[in-house]
């Protein structure tokens, strides 16, 4: 018997990918110094969207849980941060009515900051609380659904309902959330150090995602995606694995939301709603689910062409986007990256034979 035989395993971080990544990161990091301000503001947004798509890819592409409500976690992260920024901003920049609390609170008859919001005056606390709360909610949701063997379509419907509920709650409790108008005008927009922060966090999450999906646990997650019955009868507590990934994913989404709020300078109920959640699913599908680079390409491509086309073709761009999505679903099931990857490995096999 021949010992020490190996199977080919792609390296965790291939050299060409590292070189390309360094190039892209440097280009984005220095872009504000020579590029257009408008494009810079888009870059920061797209990076946040990329992380959001990556978080969907982790649960959907790698573990097989389709969530149509990932916006909930993005929204929680965004709202905690934006509220804190707004409270602090209002304290030193009185509204035109002279108050030192956020304007939307005044409009709704509040005269002072509600007691439960006082801790939000501390920005680092607010951010950490947002991330913690989002992860906790994901954990509770996971225990309720996955432990009771609810997944597949039912899970998708429940998560969709989740984001609808949050969206309605934000609109309903407008004295605390800004309601329909969202939270605006809190003094942070497209600050270059925030862009660098976003970039660093993106790199970290990218690396975490790659390690998580390319190591032994990644193979286990894929096996659960492929056949959860077999995994269960092979001794894996499938629910625990799903809860774990769901928490990691929600933490990423919340982080993306928090940075998005700081970068964009305006957020609204739409950033927690079902439409945004489903958009994230589309970015992932177009880019290539089950790949780590796919969500990034998907988010940049779809969102980028959206901004580009809506300027050039004000009337037809949505049709084009819709057609693109249908094309991907029908013809390129694995998305852009997945299709190229398959073609590449098929070619390699042809050559080696």
């Amino acid at each position: 018997m021949v010992q020490n035989r190996q199977v080919y395993k792609a390296p965790m971080f291939p050299l060409w990918a590292v070189i390309a990544a360094v190039g892209i990161v440097l280009a984005i990091a220095t872009y504000p110094f020579y590029g257009a301000a408008y494009v810079t503001s888009l870059l920061g947004k797209f990076l946040c969207f990329s992380i959001f798509a990556l978080s969907i890819d982790l649960i959907w592409g790698f573990t097989g849980i389709l969530s149509l409500g990932q916006g909930v976690y993005f929204g929680i992260g965004a709202y905690f941060t934006a509220l804190s920024l707004k409270i602090n901003y209002a304290a030193v920049n009185p509204t035109r009515y002279g108050g030192t609390i956020p304007d939307f609170m005044e409009w709704n008859g509040l005269t002072e900051l509600p007691g439960f919001m006082v801790p939000l005056q501390n920005l680092p606390f607010a951010i950490i609380a947002g991330l913690f709360f989002a992860t906790l909610l994901a954990f509770i949701f996971g225990v309720i659904t996955f432990k009771r063997h609810i997944y597949g379509v039912y899970c998708a419907v429940i998560t969709l309902a989740e984001s609808l509920i949050l969206q309605e709650a934000i609109i309903e409790y407008q004295a605390y959330t800004g309601g329909f108008n969202g939270i605006t005008d809190y003094g942070t927009h497209a600050q270059i150090n925030v862009l660098w922060l976003i970039l660093v966090v993106t790199i970290i999450f990218f690396i975490i995602g790659r390690i998580l999906t390319h190591s032994r646990i990644g193979t286990i997650l894929k096996s659960i995606r492929d056949n959860d019955t077999r995994a269960e009868f092979m001794g894996y507590n499938v629910a625990n694995y799903r809860i774990f990934v769901f928490c990691v994913s929600s933490f990423m989404a919340a982080t993306a939301g928090a940075m998005y709020a700081a970068w964009n300078g305006i957020i609204s109920f739409l950033d927690a709603g079902p439409v945004f959640s489903i958009e994230g699913v589309i970015w992932t599908a177009v880019g290539g689910r089950g790949t780590i680079i796919g969500p990034f390409i998907g988010a940049f491509l779809v969102k980028g062409s959206e901004y580009f086309l809506s300027g050039k073709l004000a009337w037809t761009w949505q049709l084009i986007m819709g057609a693109l999505f249908i094309f991907v679903v029908l013809v390129m099931r694995d998305g852009i990256v997945g299709t190229i990857g398959k073609w590449w490995s098929a070619r390699k096999k042809r050559i080696s034979n």
Partner: protein, 250 residues
């Protein structure tokens, strides 16, 4: 020798129908037991009960001295029971190698698999199993490129990789050619050398090739039990299979 598995007066009903009726059944350590029975006798249901897929209405299942009645499938697995499904249940997008890799014994908890790596010993063990199930050449291929027989073997290999105390095999030769069946029967015989195996089988050629002790189930109860040669002569057993000619091989 001690009984590794004891099923005591097990009863289960599905929408009013009694599938298992006060069934008593036991397997000794290191035994190879073949379970026969006509369709609907409750063979697969028995496996489902032992592995925790469904909960029995009444009765007890004792494995290795411990009551496992109603436990979750993954808990029962950890105690040493691995099962093979009638239709091969594999991880379709993973490679053959990875299918075995995730089946290796131990490291089932989330945190352990988060930190766990595939060690040299793991790698050698995987290749050993791949040789054993004659799929070493296919190691890097994805499972969906395998033929039907190879898929059955792979699932057998996954069970062996998990180093169970008891293997439950549900008709592992279903849909195979004659040649494939013989090879599979050889595999099972080899596995049975150092494992306790309960084999549910329809195909009498396979049964004849490997069976020593046989249990015949009918209508959720044990009809006959003992060496194959005796059971075949049993009048009640003949009556159950009457007209089918299965037992005579005609």
């Amino acid at each position: 020798m001690t009984n590794i598995l004891e099923v005591k007066s097990l009863t289960t009903k599905v929408s009013g129908y009694t599938i298992l009726n006060n069934l008593d059944f036991s397997i000794q350590e290191n035994e190879l037991r073949v379970v026969l029975g006509p369709n609907g006798a409750g063979k697969t249901t028995l496996i489902d009960m032992i592995t925790g897929r469904y909960k029995p209405k009444s009765g007890k299942i004792i494995f290795n001295g411990e009551d496992i009645t109603g436990m979750a499938p993954d808990k029962i697995f950890v105690r040493g029971v691995s099962r093979k499904f009638q239709v091969p249940n594999l991880y379709e997008t993973l490679s053959v190698y990875d299918n075995i890799m995730v089946s290796l014994k131990g490291r089932r908890k989330v945190m352990k698999s988060l930190l766990g790596k595939v060690t040299k010993q793991d790698n050698n063990r995987i290749w050993e199993i791949l040789d054993f199930i004659m799929l070493a050449e296919k190691a890097e291929d994805s499972v969906d490129t395998l033929g039907h027989g190879q898929r059955q073997w792979l699932e057998l290999g996954m069970l062996v990789a998990s180093e169970p105390k008891l293997l439950l095999l549900d008709e592992p030769t279903t849909g195979m050619t004659k040649d494939g069946k013989e090879k599979t029967a050889e595999l099972i015989e080899k596995i049975a050398l150092d494992h306790t195996v309960m084999l549910v089988e329809h195909d009498m050629d396979v049964v004849r090739q490997i069976a020593k002790n046989v249990t015949v189930l009918a209508q959720g109860q044990t009809l006959a039990e003992g060496p194959l040669s005796e059971v075949v002569e049993n009048q009640e057993v003949k009556a159950v299979y009457l007209g089918k000619g299965v037992l005579d091989g005609t």
